[in-house]
Symmetry: C2
Subunit: 159 residues, 2 copies
Amino acid sequence: MPLTDSPAQPHDHSLCIDDALAQARLICERRNVRLTPIREQVLGLIWQNHKPVGAYDLLEQLATTHQAAKPPTIYRALDFLQENGLIHKIESQNAFLGCAHVGGQHHGQFLICTACGTAQEIDEKVVSSALKNASQARGFQIHSFVIEIKGLCAACQDI
Amino acid sequence: MPLTDSPAQPHDHSLCIDDALAQARLICERRNVRLTPIREQVLGLIWQNHKPVGAYDLLEQLATTHQAAKPPTIYRALDFLQENGLIHKIESQNAFLGCAHVGGQHHGQFLICTACGTAQEIDEKVVSSALKNASQARGFQIHSFVIEIKGLCAACQDI
DNA sequence: TGAATATTGTTATATCATATCATTGCCCCA
DNA sequence: TGGGGCAATGATATGATATAACAATATTCA
């Protein structure tokens, strides 16, 4: 686990990256799927910071070291990483973010700062159970959900 | 208000449309903004059913009666309707849906059936207050949020 | 009426994502 | 151990969603 679970707080971010990649290797080994160089590199790029990043931004970066990279290259890597729970898509931004709760059974809940762009992943059981109750009361059976909260993170309120 | 608040239940949908348009006229008059023919027609098209509909689908329909309609025509109408709280964007589908709680102060919460495509808007105070609490505990100040729940509506579970 | 503003028309292009088929690489076991 | 089968990547093209920028027209209101 990262030493802090809040991107809003200062921290040694290289530890986040190292940790994310180490966990990814572990998960993929356990699941018997291949974290190929391209996939690992894309995951590393996504973890460069705590801001959701677009597919074509990633492509541009990947292309600097990987001439052959084209849109399908990125989207395939992103699909793989999503399928294996290593990243989330932020639907309201068409962008991707490293998963901060790898391995756990969860859907995403995100606090997205409109000032600095960082997104913090949370996993509030009280939120998901409220959704479950509300759905159940209407006979609706949940498969998954998207929760994206926009506002100002603690750091950006002080400015 | 529509006679039913649940699109999952059978109902006379023409009443939903009539009602939505009547409310829209009222809201726009109150807010002193212009519900022009294009805007009203787009709103009517969106309300044709309870499924989120894409901008280019709308464009295609609008173009049958309005030769000059181009992408900006639709996106401008959609922007207007969103600004005035008459429709919501479903971020995970890049699609638009009539607002079922016009006038009220609310963000969207949607139950989206992956089988039949209908989306039901709900407004659960317990969900929004859970989000508020979780955010506040982290020093995060909410401006808006997106909640999109995917699963099976009551009708589609029985199939 | 005429100036200011809002709306719509028009063209072009940016941005996000996938389909399809060819090629290469990896794995396993006969 | 080599070759069959499958997974991954390369390569080209195109589909789908959204906006920029400027011109023309319509509406409002002093």
